[in-house]
Each structure stands twice: as structure tokens, then as C-alpha cells.
């Protein structure tokens, strides 16, 4: 009789401990989700004043010989001025075909458009100001085999909460360049850590690329963000390929001495 009571009490204690541990983990995730939710805009922390300058001071990727051999020049497919030569003042030239996005959900590295993070129980949805979004699964699922992923700009992402930070793992990205001299293939793993500062107004995303075929050591850098004001709202990016102004030429003006 005493043994039975003891066993039952022990089982209850263990169950209670499990429930407490689960609730504690949920609180941590809930706190992280509450902090991360909302609109964010990327900051120019180096004061460079240009997109190229934003990453100019990042530590360059350390590549393996095979990785270095993969690097190819990158070109915007919408760029109709591939030689990038300087144009004389008064010489008109066309810079774009006027090709609008057409359904893409954006890539993994945010640009100047605002970024919106919507954390829910099973998924964190990250959206911008146009179509689609990144679907980051937090329900414990694993990546499907690479053979079942169509490589794309957002890849396949799963995530977990770690002390209030969202830690995202992504594979299945299209082959191409990575910030600060890196390269990626569908096999490459990208880990992103979303960390919101204690003030709740600033966020850092730390990107870490790992692929033993490409990188001699993990390639890591971070972007800083500022929270959008509480009364702000998402804009809607509009682009019309049928508008001739999209293909309007540029005429460089005379430069002041």
C-alpha cells in the first residue's frame, strides 16, 4: 500500500515538473514572440549612406578553394545596361526593362522596405510590402529532403525559440551570391538569430552561413533594425510593368565641379 502511494506521488511529481518545464519554455517563447512581433526597418549603422556601404565593413567570407571557384559575377536580370560604364552628361540610357516582381516573396536578406514579423504558435510569418512571405515553421517539423525542395529565394525554413531569440535554419536556397563575398547552393545552411534588445525597439538579425564545400569557417554578419512607430501601418509596393515610365531613360546631368 505504501509503495503504491509512493509510486503515485512520484509520478505526480514528475508530471508536475514536466508541465512546469513546458510552461516555462512556452513563456520564454511567448515573451520572444511578443517582443519580435511588429514592423521593423533596417538601419544604416555604419553611416555609409548607400546600400553598397551598408556591408562594406563586414568581415569577408573565408572560402574553400572549391567555394572560391564557384563565385560568378552577379547581375540583376532586369538590368539592361550590363557594361555599367559611366555615361556622359546628357547621354540618355535605359536602366531597367520595367519588369516588376510578379509573385515572388522576397529573399532572406531584408532590403530597405519594412519587414513585418507575425509570430504564431505553429509558424512565424515574415512579410514585406508586396506579395507572399517567408513561412518559418515552429511546429517541430524537419526540413524535407533536398530532392523535394524546389530551390527558391526564401528556401525552406524551420525555427525554434532560444531564450527569447528566434533561431531559424534554412536550406533549399537558389544558388547565388551571399553578402560579403559568400556563395550559397541549395545545400548551404543559413542560420538566422532574431534578437530583440531589452528596450524592445531594436532588433539584430545575425546571419551565419555554413557549408563545408564552400566555407573554410562559418560566414557570419548581422543587420540592425529599428521598430516602426506604434501607429504606423504597412505600405503597399506598386509597380506596373505596363507603364512606359518604368522603362524611362535616365539622362545624367552635368556634374558640379
Amino acid at each position: 500500500m505504501q509503495v503504491k502511494v509512493f509510486a503515485a506521488a512520484l509520478a505526480t511529481l514528475m508530471l508536475t515538473l514536466c508541465v512546469h518545464a513546458t510552461l516555462h519554455a512556452q513563456r520564454t517563447a511567448a515573451d520572444g514572440a511578443r517582443a519580435l512581433e511588429g514592423g521593423w526597418v533596417r538601419l544604416d549603422t555604419s553611416g555609409s549612406g548607400s546600400f553598397g556601404g551598408l556591408t562594406a565593413n563586414f568581415t569577408r567570407a573565408v572560402l574553400t578553394p572549391d567555394g572560391a571557384a564557384k563565385i560568378k559575377p552577379q547581375r540583376d536580370p532586369d538590368d539592361v545596361d550590363p557594361d555599367n560604364r559611366p555615361h556622359k552628361a546628357g547621354e540618355p540610357y535605359i536602366v531597367s526593362q520595367g519588369r516588376c516582381g510578379g509573385g515572388g516573396g522576397g529573399g532572406v536578406e531584408p532590403n530597405s522596405a519594412a519587414l513585418f514579423v507575425i509570430p504564431t504558435r505553429d509558424e512565424v510569418l515574415i512579410t514585406r510590402e508586396g506579395p507572399g512571405g517567408r513561412h518559418i515553421y515552429t511546429d517541430g517539423r524537419e526540413h524535407p529532403p533536398l530532392s523535394r525542395i524546389v530551390p527558391n529565394g526564401a528556401g525552406h525554413s524551420t525555427a525554434m525559440w532560444d531564450n527569447g531569440d528566434l533561431v531559424v535554419d534554412t536550406i533549399g536556397l537558389t544558388e547565388g551570391g551571399v553578402t560579403a563575398g559568400g556563395w550559397r547552393t541549395p545545400e548551404t545552411h543559413l542560420t538566422e538569430r532574431y534578437h530583440v534588445a531589452d528596450d524592445g525597439m531594436h532588433m539584430r538579425i545575425t546571419f551565419t552561413w555554413t557549408d563545408p564545400k564552400i566555407y573554410a569557417k562559418p560566414h557570419s554578419y548581422f543587420f540592425e533594425f529599428e521598430r516602426l512607430p506604434a501607429d504606423s501601418y504597412a505600405f503597399e509596393n506598386w509597380c506596373d510593368s505596363g507603364d512606359p515610365l518604368q522603362r524611362q531613360s535616365v539622362v545624367p546631368p552635368e556634374q558640379l565641379p
Partner: protein, 231 residues
């Protein structure tokens, strides 16, 4: 004996708590939702005002065709009629609807009681949406549509203009397996009476994997020839 009763009560309490945590929340519409074939849309004909003549409707159809031809973002109400699943995510502050078609994501604000001032808000394909819960029904109120962007056509007839007002009522049915959305459009320049219809979306399994958005290339000559040729 007392110890046994205590243990049993504790166990029942713990298990009840776990079960409660798994009960569907009638006020959480997060998930992947899909219109089913044929039986998910109940759309009566809209009653239009006399000024909406055949010529007006033809002009609107031409605008919509141009938007499709050039892969413009579609906007409301086309996004809600997507042939692909909608990813609806709800937090305390917002409901966000992301589609797998060429439509800008919808942002519905639960933390705002009034629309953005017309002096500030630039009209868009989706408009400005605010919402509140009335019991287990999410009531979404939208204004601020741009009649010159996206596809304007409204199911059942008519089209959206700068003066159009939309109210949507979202409600879970069948223990959370169905999402009913009743759309009511009012616009004195288009509809003689408020135009109401209902869509019902089926909840997809929790392991659903979002697919790549459908691509749209305005410079695809084969596509353009298909769209512009007479059958």
C-alpha cells in the same frame, strides 16, 4: 486513502489543463485555408445602380484585363478568391493574410479603432482594414481602395471604387475545420443594395507546406499571345 484521492485529483487536474490547451480557440483563425471546388462559394447576383451601364462594365473589364496582362498585384477581392491556400496569421494586434498568388499581403489591424485619415493614406489594392471581435465573429472594415490599381471586379457583379466600403465577417465553423467569410460591399455609385456573399474555406492539415507563389511574367510572349488571341 486520502493520499490516493489527492493523487487522483492532481492527475485529473493536470490532464484537464493539457486538454484545455488543445481545444480549438474560436477566436483564433490562424492557419492555412483553401476554397474547395464549386461548393465553397455562395454568390448571388449584385443589384447595380442604373449608372452602371454595359459600357461602364466593359470599361472596368478592360482595366482588369490590363492588370492581369501586366502582372499587376491583384488586391481585394481577388486575393480572397485565390485558387491557392491563404496563410492567415493572427496575433493580438493584427491579422495578416498572405497568398500564393500575385497579390500584396493583407494587413488587418486589431489594435486600431479608426481608419487612417484620408489625408494620409494612399489608396491601395487592399485598402485600409481594421477589425474587432463581436463574440466569436471577427468583423473587418475596409475602405481606401484605389480603383486604378489591381483587379476591381467583385464576385456577383460590380467593381470597387474609391468610395467602396467592405465589411467582412469571419467565423469558424465545424469545430474549427471551416472558416466562413461573409463579404458585404456597399457603394452608392455601384450597388443598389448592399451586396453580400459568403465563401467557406477548408482548414488544411497542420503539416501543409506553403508552395512557391505562382510566377507571373509580363514579358512572356507565349502567355501574352494566349491572353490576347481570340479563341
Amino acid at each position: 486513502m486520502k493520499a490516493r484521492i489527492f493523487v487522483a485529483v492532481t492527475l485529473i487536474g493536470a490532464l484537464t489543463g493539457v486538454a484545455a490547451a488543445q481545444t480549438p480557440n474560436a477566436r483564433d483563425i490562424s492557419g492555412y485555408w483553401e476554397l474547395t471546388y464549386m461548393d465553397s462559394q455562395h454568390v448571388p447576383r449584385a443589384q447595380l445602380v442604373p449608372r452602371v451601364t454595359r459600357a461602364v462594365l466593359e470599361a472596368e473589364a478592360q482595366k482588369d484585363f490590363k492588370a492581369v496582362r501586366w502582372c499587376n498585384i491583384l488586391g481585394m477581392p481577388a486575393i480572397m478568391a485565390s485558387p491557392r491556400p491563404l496563410d492567415i496569421r493572427q496575433t493580438e494586434k493584427t491579422v495578416v493574410i498572405a497568398a500564393e498568388i500575385n497579390a500584396a499581403t493583407r494587413y488587418i489591424y486589431l489594435n486600431r479603432a479608426a481608419h487612417i485619415s484620408k489625408d494620409i493614406f494612399d489608396p491601395t489594392t487592399n485598402g485600409d482594414s481594421i477589425a474587432k471581435w463581436e463574440g466569436d465573429t471577427l468583423v473587418v472594415d475596409t475602405v481606401g481602395f484605389d480603383p486604378n490599381k489591381g483587379v476591381n471586379a467583385i464576385p456577383g457583379g460590380g467593381f470597387r471604387t474609391a468610395n467602396t466600403h467592405l465589411v467582412e465577417r469571419y467565423r469558424l465553423l465545424n469545430n474549427g475545420s471551416l472558416l466562413s467569410v461573409r463579404f458585404t460591399w456597399t457603394d452608392p455609385g455601384v450597388f443598389r443594395t448592399p451586396h453580400t456573399y459568403e465563401f467557406r474555406y477548408a482548414r488544411l492539415p497542420r503539416d501543409y507546406e506553403a508552395r512557391l507563389p505562382l510566377n507571373c511574367d509580363p514579358f512572356d510572349e507565349t502567355r501574352t499571345a494566349f491572353l490576347t488571341a481570340r479563341p
